[in-house]
Symmetry: C2
Subunit: 155 residues, 2 copies
């Protein structure tokens, strides 16, 4: 069951690639939530599915379940740092959705108030990387500059 997956896209989708998981992450990005809060905000999720997804996310160290009150016992769920890092995935989905599917909501920067998008970025060169230049290659091939590289030729 746990055979390691070479492709980072496939590896990530194995953890969060189903109909509900990223909606749960979306709501947890806004802060800690209790079971029934998620049940209401993740529109239409059956409680059995919510429970099983939360447990899967917990064992993947994406969310953490915390007892926040004894007597009666009450629990809350929150993202780990690993889980917060999924924010960009959710953001990319939102960015696409606001452009290509009709949606009422939109991504903004809370400080300047402008609409924002999700892009590739090269931290070494400190600049945006155009989509067409991006490739997926073996780790040993990264960091070797030059354009003579053949692995994933674009269209």
């Amino acid at each position: 069951m746990n055979r390691s997956v070479r492709c980072p896209v496939a590896a990530t989708l194995q953890l969060v690639g189903d109909r509900w998981t990223l909606l749960i992450v979306r709501d947890l990005l806004r802060g800690r939530r209790r079971f029934n809060e998620l049940r209401e905000s993740v529109e239409g999720i059956p409680p059995a599915v919510l429970a099983s997804r939360l447990r899967a996310l917990e064992s993947a160290a994406i969310v953490q379940r915390r007892l926040y009150q004894d007597r009666p016992r009450r629990f809350e769920y929150r993202l780990t740092p690993r889980g917060h890092a999924l924010g960009v995935v959710v953001g990319a989905l939102a960015d696409w959705g606001q452009r290509y599917a009709e949606a009422d909501l939109t991504l903004v920067d809370g400080e300047c108030g402008h609409g924002i998008s999700v892009v590739y970025h090269c931290p070494t060169c400190a600049r945006e990387a155009p989509r067409r230049r991006v490739r997926i290659v073996g780790r040993e091939q990264a960091r070797l500059p030059g354009r003579e590289r053949q692995p994933t030729l674009p269209e």
Copy 2:
């Protein structure tokens, strides 16, 4: 079935939020592909699922099916511009996967060869937007700068 979804994340997931679809998109990002090529590169996908996903992607205008040879009839699949825009979603999944799941492959800029990441970007301010500042709000609330806004309070 086609009730409109308000949240752009939910709207996007309704189209591509299953176990296989984004793997198909991942491989089509490298260029046009034939049915059996996808069958081999999308590891383990049953042909019935591939056929049904391709037809769903076609009717969502994400891929286009083209006859590229008569006698024998042969088809190829390629991304529409809409579909190419999903590249950033796949990139965000890859970025997370290369950091948090063990994977042998990594994202690079084909020109400078450096590893790249996926980030939020404010095109108006021409700068990167830190993850913590990003919110999802109603469209009418975008573009109004200022910090007095309450919709989605962070943790």
